[in-house]
Amino acid sequence: MSTREITLTVNGRRTTLSVEPRKLLVDVLREDLGLVGTHIGCEHGVCGTCTVLRDGRSIRSCTTFAVQADGADIRTVEGLAQGPELHPLQEAFWEKQGLQCGYCTPGMLMRCVEILERDPDPTPQSVREQIASNLCRCTGYATITEAVCAAAEVMRSGARAGTEVAS
């Protein structure tokens, strides 16, 4: 099958690769780039497990062809922690136990990054409404909402103190 050349900037790193037009973005991330943190849950666009950020907006990478993302800036869970330093959202998920099996977690984290980038001070109800895009079969969501609000607070105070907040 013929391939096409595309350029992706993934977690700040620019790569050019040739892919089959039918290859899904999630498979390119996982197989071609080795970024296996983005998981596949339903493969039909409902569960949100495969969520990544494309130019700052969350998308389902299981229903996006890689060629559609040509030229885009992609962020995945691997881009969150800075070396040993976890992102405040990761810290908060840990602190509040916003995960059990961890399978939905990377997609959920990326969705929450987007939520907080749009609104640094969301109400719990607004978080609840916005994470309804992503299924979690383990936690029953309560601790995820809590974690997002806790992370928001940390990130706001961090921002006030002039600390660089990793995104």
Partner: protein, 813 residues
Amino acid sequence: MTTVDRPTPPVRTHKAERTWVGKSIRRVEDPRFLRGRGGYIADLVLPGMLHAAVLRSPHPHARIVSIDTSRAEAAPGVHAVVTGAQAAELTDPLPDFGPNPAAHTWRCLAVDKVRYVGEGVAVVVADDRYLAEDALELIDVEYEPLPPVVDPLAALADDAPLVHEPLGSNCAYDRTFEFGDVAGDFERADVVVTDQLRWHRSGGQPLETVGAVAEHDPATGGFRVHTNSLSFTSYLFMVATALKIPANRLDIVPMPAGGSFGSKLFVTKPLVIAAMCARLTGRPVRYLEDRVDNMANCDHHGSDRHYDVRMALTRDGKITAIDIDTVDDYGAYIQFGVGHHGNALAQVVGPYTIGSVRYRVRAVLTNKNQQGAYRGFGSEVNNWMLEQMVDKAARELGMDPVEIRRRNFIRSFPHFIPTGNVYDSGDYDAVLDKTLELGRYEHWREVQEQARAEGRYIGIGLITAQERSVFSATEFWFWFDEPGAPVTSMPESVTLKVDATGAITATLYSCAFWGNSPETMVAQLVAEEFDCDPHDVSVVYQSSKNGLPATGPGGSRTTVMLAGAVEGASAKIKEKARRAAAHLLEADPDDLEWRDGGFEVRGVPEKRKTLSEIAIMLHLFKHSFDEDVESGLEESKVFDHPYTTMPSADRKDLGVFYPFMGHACHLPVVEVDVETGVVTFLDYAAVHDCGTLVNPRSLAGHIQGGTAQGIGTALYEEFVYGPDGQLQTTSYLDYPIPTSLEVPELKIGHVETPSPWTPHGIKGGGEGGRMMAPAAINAAVNDALAPLGVRITELPLTPDRIRAALRAAGHGS
């Protein structure tokens, strides 16, 4: 004559002051998952690995006339195509604990006929999954459709088409058990309440499907298979049999599971398919289900029951007997037999002093995917049935739901229920009191009344129910008079190693991580024993080949069993360390006591050796010690089931098989929109008692998460098979899993009544909220609709069902 020997184990004295057990520490597992480095089966890539995809039957019931694979074999990137008939040469039938397995042979691919939509008929192995799926479309199968068997009651008719001809019937099992004087109790009853109830099938649906990566070694003929389903570890010889190899040539490597909820319990099919293909192609092969594979063919659909129930009571609301007749639709195979009803019989009378029980179970085979395990394993269905009956009785007697429950609570322990199982301990009044307060019962009753005056329908559900924990495998065989078997243990093992620096590593021997927190729990238990920080304990999983006896998670057993194993291994380590310390301190071992991470001479704190001081001596300087002391500081413990007894020969008493009995009370408050049939939550309180808590926040996670699943079961989720046998729900659009908007944030409370018979008094609690939520939500909806004369006895309570029930009662069109 029923004779039963009921020895009880010695009562333990539990440590009064605990440092780590009982603390909500951050989970030690989490950092890798938070970074996307969970190491799931899909993340494993081996050099030269090929990918398998399975062709699935579009027919519920059809004879396979012919399969032509030539076009598929010629397709690009294809290495092999295997039909069911070829697979039957390459492999033997899959492990099956059901009755009479030879009469309903279960294989990794269908051979002569297909028995449900989604059953595999052929597998393609190709360079990648895309190419494998391309080739599936090139396989030509000619089917001769047969009439499907869909309705389990119709399946029992004499002239029904047969799912398995050799069985001669679609009824795989039919037996009535009697415990106590049922007939007498019904004769003496003032009131008999009867009902018919219907629980439809749903399933665990973890977000990660099941998969395996297999490597074959042509030199030994053996396999190394990585899989995210590894429990019943002691039964893996059965998988070796399916692969036609000696058991010592099979090594199964556990991978973390992205959720299970029971549905990854001993899943052998993907493993056998991957291994078969690896042997055939000489290359490592991955077979990983996609979502449609999993929904249609996971072999782990949940219970699917019809109930006819009678309950005998005195006029003042004392329940004396229950007579249960259930037909359970098992689908096309019956891999775990009717073990699901063993789970029900473990706690069939709930928290109540019911004196006699009749239980008839008919297991029916139909053209559907078979049942497996789903959080509760059939006991959650019993909870729902029983609580529905109790509520109906309360209504008929004009009693408050709280009152009727209090009137029937068991209050002295240990308590042997009529089936023979024991409840070790409990305080049901305390749990109820706490729930009523937390859930503001009185307040909501007032709100309810006001709302009714305004034409709004608010309902309060109140249920009190059991969560049995730590099964013994007798429940898989006490169904049959023959073969008799001795009492069965399901052990669990741990190895603890203290290295030369004093750091501790714990090795576990079954797939314990499937979303629970085995590493945290073991780390906390180890820390409790050795006074170290749980985050400094390292936990690893051993593959099966070098494994000690193990069973793995299931039936809320992991925490209790691993606690026993950690306790035993720790005692051995401390014994060796005590002797070594005594030698180094030139003291009598009996004069030493363990304190703060080391041994010291009682009353002389300056004469002490820390664990690391002892460990380095034992690792590097063995010759400082007596002749019989060996180098190193490593010990293992195989912990066997702490309390299980034989059933009586006549099966009028099933013995003790699920002794550590948790309890909970759930109190949801809902509003039902009678125009749309939509149910919304106004409040939800849940109090659980599963003995001593190891990590309260982890348990709260099981309560909240299990309740979310219970909400799915109660309101939304159902695998719907149409009258034509087609599975109509093969995506998450048709099979709606609750989102954050459907799940309320619970008010959670804990009561801790320690078990007298387990380490620290721990009971299992992993099945959490799903044990109770379906019963509680059904009760709440019925309470809301009571003024309209509507009571619904069928789950899930979809808007359609609620509207239909309202219409049937003459409300609206």
